[in-house]
Symmetry: C2
Subunit: 308 residues, 2 copies
């Protein structure tokens, strides 16, 4: 089994949807990535920073999932990163109500000695310089570097983003961001341009419309499972990435064919994530439920056509 | 092999896209449906009406495809139905510049005697009363009635639309129209409500985001093939429906499993349709190209996960 190292936010979220709203609850990209990956019983660690206001119970909850949290720094006199947002009725668009960086503003990531040889490095959405800082602490180039990013860095730190992209194997990015980064409307052309920037594999996330995996001239598509109700989309993209990385870590196989499966596992886990607020559904999920839903994915997409 | 009867418009289109524009060219729902179905060498006929201005060469072109055109009435002193539209840069939205009903305003469809026993009746997008009129001329209920419709009829002829839906087996409808018809945002819930209106099978078309097939508690999804360039989306939905109906007619099997394949064939044909203006690409398409693209669809969607 491979070692998986995750860097990203561990944070508070406050969420409003048409179905209700939450107080400050557990959130953050690394939280969702780590919880998703934990379903594969991988040897994983999270690097992050929280304030003295962050409940010890939340940290214990990650530890209980066999996630190494020695790389999560607690700044006792600081406050934890906080995001709040309100989803529109379509559940696909949202307004950010508040972003308080707090301790994240001075985040100085430290890779634990025992994870400097991690096989898979998952760089969650953060400033590209922080992502680069983590990569530079590794003993040698990891077998696979997976990068998530967002439009904010394209607008404010494009040069730094290009620098880390050059050293990335897999990038996960949403469709609008892929278009913004490449000035191409066609996702096929956008993916090709992103491949030229560095990543051999490009995953374009289309939210409720699924995800595309590009590699060389190959393309694979996984739909999102059609759901009766999307309760809270927060963390779905990170859960996808965590399932993707976790499955690759478990199987220790980064071929394109196995990455297809990783995309399916990521989509399956994301389909659970959106059923309840925050990471609630991910915490109660068991393997039997996961297998039932994988079967639904097969039924949804597999067909039998013999080509003559 | 089953008999396929198609009713719908045979018309002139004038199209503007970011890539160029056309004069009046061959268009109309029944044209695209018939051309798509012709790739399966089915025994098919079109019922429609055109004016004296409609080139005989266009009618010959349909006849050359082994489509029975005895049900296409030519009103010598009338003008052919004409639509023109302009696509936006995203190629997913368009403005209608002009709609001239002309001879379509008094369309009185007549089913040829030899097709009153058709196995599959494809009711292209028209006033629901015209669709009902055609269905009522059949000797007995066809094995499969497929209906296409649009938002205009929901707004202006909802009662008549419900009457024909009650007698429909398969409805094809786009995502926004499905939401409008049912007042449900979730497509899963929308499909369930539409099933309660009559159709046992519901196909929801999502344009570049693919198509969903619902039947009882089953759902199947076919993506649209990711293309480098969409040149002209006109007729893609009708080409999908024609490929779907044509494959079912050829195989004479209306099981859910076979309908999955029909959805894949429909999507494959639609992926060609958008490559050139109007039906141009469909007219030059050969079977070898079709099989190559079917293989691309398999590569795009098929995966190997063993469930323990």
């Amino acid at each position: 089994m491979s070692k998986l190292l995750i860097v990203g936010t561990v944070a508070f979220d406050a969420i409003e949807t048409p179905f209700g709203q939450t107080d400050k609850i557990l959130g953050g990209a690394a939280t969702f990535i780590g919880l998703a990956a934990s379903h594969f019983n991988v040897n994983s660690a999270i690097i992050s920073v929280v304030g003295g206001d962050f409940p010890k119970a939340y940290l214990e909850l990650l530890k209980d999932r066999q996630i190494d949290i020695s790389g999560i720094e607690v700044v006792e006199d600081g406050k934890t990163f906080f995001w709040s947002g309100r989803y529109h009725n379509d559940m696909n668009t949202r307004d950010t109500l508040s972003t308080e960086l707090n301790v994240l503003a001075d985040f100085d990531p430290k890779v634990p000695e025992t994870f400097k040889d991690a096989d898979i490095l998952m760089l969650g959405n953060l400033h590209p310089d922080i992502q680069m800082n983590v990569l530079n602490q590794m003993n040698s180039k990891p077998k696979l570097v997976i990068l998530d990013t967002m439009n904010f860095w394209m607008e404010h730190s494009l040069e730094e983003l290009h620098a880390i992209l050059k050293r990335t194997d897999v990038v996960t990015i949403n469709d609008e961001e892929a278009r913004q980064l490449t000035h191409e409307y066609s996702l096929v052309l956008a993916a090709r341009k992103i491949q030229e920037m560095g990543p051999r594999f490009v995953v374009i996330k289309k939210g409720e419309h699924g995800a595309l995996l590009f590699h060389e001239d190959n393309v694979f598509f996984a739909p999102a499972l059609p759901l009766e109700e999307v309760f809270d989309p927060t963390g779905a993209g990170d859960t996808f990435a965590g399932g993707f990385a976790g499955y690759l870590a478990k199987t220790n196989d980064i071929s394109f064919d196995n990455m297809k499966n990783a995309v399916i596992y990521g989509s399956t886990l994301a389909s659970f994530c959106v059923e309840k607020f925050g990471p609630e559904r991910m915490l109660e999920l068991n393997l039997d439920e996961l297998y039932v839903r994988l079967q639904q994915f097969k039924n949804l997409t597999q067909f039998e056509i013999e080509l003559s």
